[in-house]
């Protein structure tokens, strides 16, 4: 390996040192040396230099003016941004407050909802009970099946009339019937049995003989209690007097339809049920 020449100075010198040493443009020295070689003489006039220095002054002032002008704009923009930030921050705080209040409200409402669900379930149970008891809900169970028909001799007096059926139904209620239907028409607290012309109507639905009366109740006792009740005795005498066809049998499983829920037009629920009758 041949011995290498030492590297030139401008390569080995650290950058900062080079910067410091060459801080003066070498051209000045160069020009001065040149002048000296040509026989000296003072440097040319300074007019151009003065113009350039004036240019430098303009440059500095322009930059300063520009910066201060920009500073005012920047400051305004900054203040505007700070204002916006504060506004938004207040907004965020507001929203957060409303979130937490809504969350509390939500918790409260869901508690209420739970309570209401419990209430609703209780109310539905009660409705079911009431519907079964008042005849607006289908029911099934053991009971008795009754069959009633006009007198076979065709006598006009031998026709079953509304009041006869009403006596029969009264007897069944008295015997502990819990649900009664006649020819598929469930009897409710607001269903009348009445004659229109010669046909019997229940809730304005015409029925024709023979009449099948289904009564849900305790079948062990109903027949006996019916026979013992006042209406049962009256019914027995009606059967005897007019010669109706009548049979009563126990049934294991009776299915009674529900009546349509009545539309209450005049009756309104009183806010607090009056204890006694009040008339105006």
């Amino acid at each position: 390996m041949p011995a290498r020449e030492p590297l030139p100075e401008h390569v080995t010198t650290p950058l900062l040192t080079v910067l410091t040493q060459n801080s003066l443009d070498e051209d000045y020295q160069h020009a001065a040396d040149e002048r000296e070689r040509q026989g000296g003489g003072p440097p040319s006039s300074r007019g151009v230099a003065a113009v350039v220095v004036a240019l430098f002054g303009i440059l500095i002032v322009t930059a300063a003016v520009q910066t201060s002008r920009n500073a005012a704009t920047d400051e305004a923009g900054r203040a505007e941004l700070v204002g916006q930030i504060n506004t938004r921050r207040a907004e965020v705080a507001d929203r957060e407050r409303s979130i937490s209040s809504m969350r509390a409200e939500n918790t409260r409402l869901s508690g209420t909802l739970d309570e209401l669900a419990v209430d609703e379930r209780a109310a539905r149970n009660r409705t079911d009970e009431l519907g079964a008891g008042t005849g607006f809900r289908p029911v099934e169970g053991e009971g008795v099946r009754l069959r009633v028909d006009d007198s076979p001799d065709g006598n006009k007096d031998g026709r079953v009339r509304d009041e006869d059926l009403a006596v029969l139904v009264d007897g069944l209620w008295a015997a502990g019937a819990e649900a009664v239907s006649v020819n598929g028409q469930r009897l409710t607290n607001v269903s009348p049995i009445r004659n229109v012309g010669e046909a019997i109507h229940i809730k304005s639905v015409p029925l024709r003989a023979p009449y099948t009366v289904l009564a849900v109740g305790n079948r062990n006792t109903m027949q006996a209690r019916f026979g013992d009740s006042v209406s049962g005795i009256a019914w027995a005498s009606l059967v005897n007097s007019f010669g109706f066809e009548f049979s009563m049998t126990n049934a294991d499983s009776l299915q009674l339809p529900g009546s349509q829920t009545p539309t209450l037009r005049s009756a309104e629920r009183a806010p607090e049920g009056p204890d006694k009758e009040v008339g105006q």
Binding site: T20, D27, R46, L55, I58, T62
Partner: protein, 110 residues
């Protein structure tokens, strides 16, 4: 003396007219000022050294300004404008400091 008068005249003119810099040149103005400052201090030092030359000053002044501005412009185009301005300012700053130190030595002999 005449140079100081020129500087004062320039400052007064600038204050009177307040020339508006086109928006495109605005980012390069500070760098141009620093470069010009370097040229001016170099000239002052050369003057005190007794080797001042008009032509060299004018050429160095304009070339300094143009080169500094174009380096920053190039940096802007490459996306490193801020870093290149920092580099230019560091170099020019070192030169200014050194020149000012030499000027101080001339004036105060210290």
């Amino acid at each position: 003396m005449i140079a100081v008068l020129g500087l004062l005249a320039g400052i007064v003119l600038g204050l009177i007219f307040k020339p508006d810099v086109p928006l495109g040149f605005e980012p390069y103005l500070p760098i141009a000022v620093v470069a010009a400052l370097d040229a001016v201090f170099g000239a002052l030092r050369a003057f005190l050294d007794g080797i001042f030359d008009d032509k060299v000053f004018v050429v160095s002044f304009f070339s300094n300004v143009v080169i500094a501005a174009s380096i920053v412009f190039l940096g802007d185009k490459l996306g490193v404008g801020a870093q290149l301005s920092t580099g230019v300012i560091v170099v020019l700053g070192i030169r200014i400091f050194t020149n000012v130190a030499m000027i101080r030595r001339h004036i105060f002999h210290a």
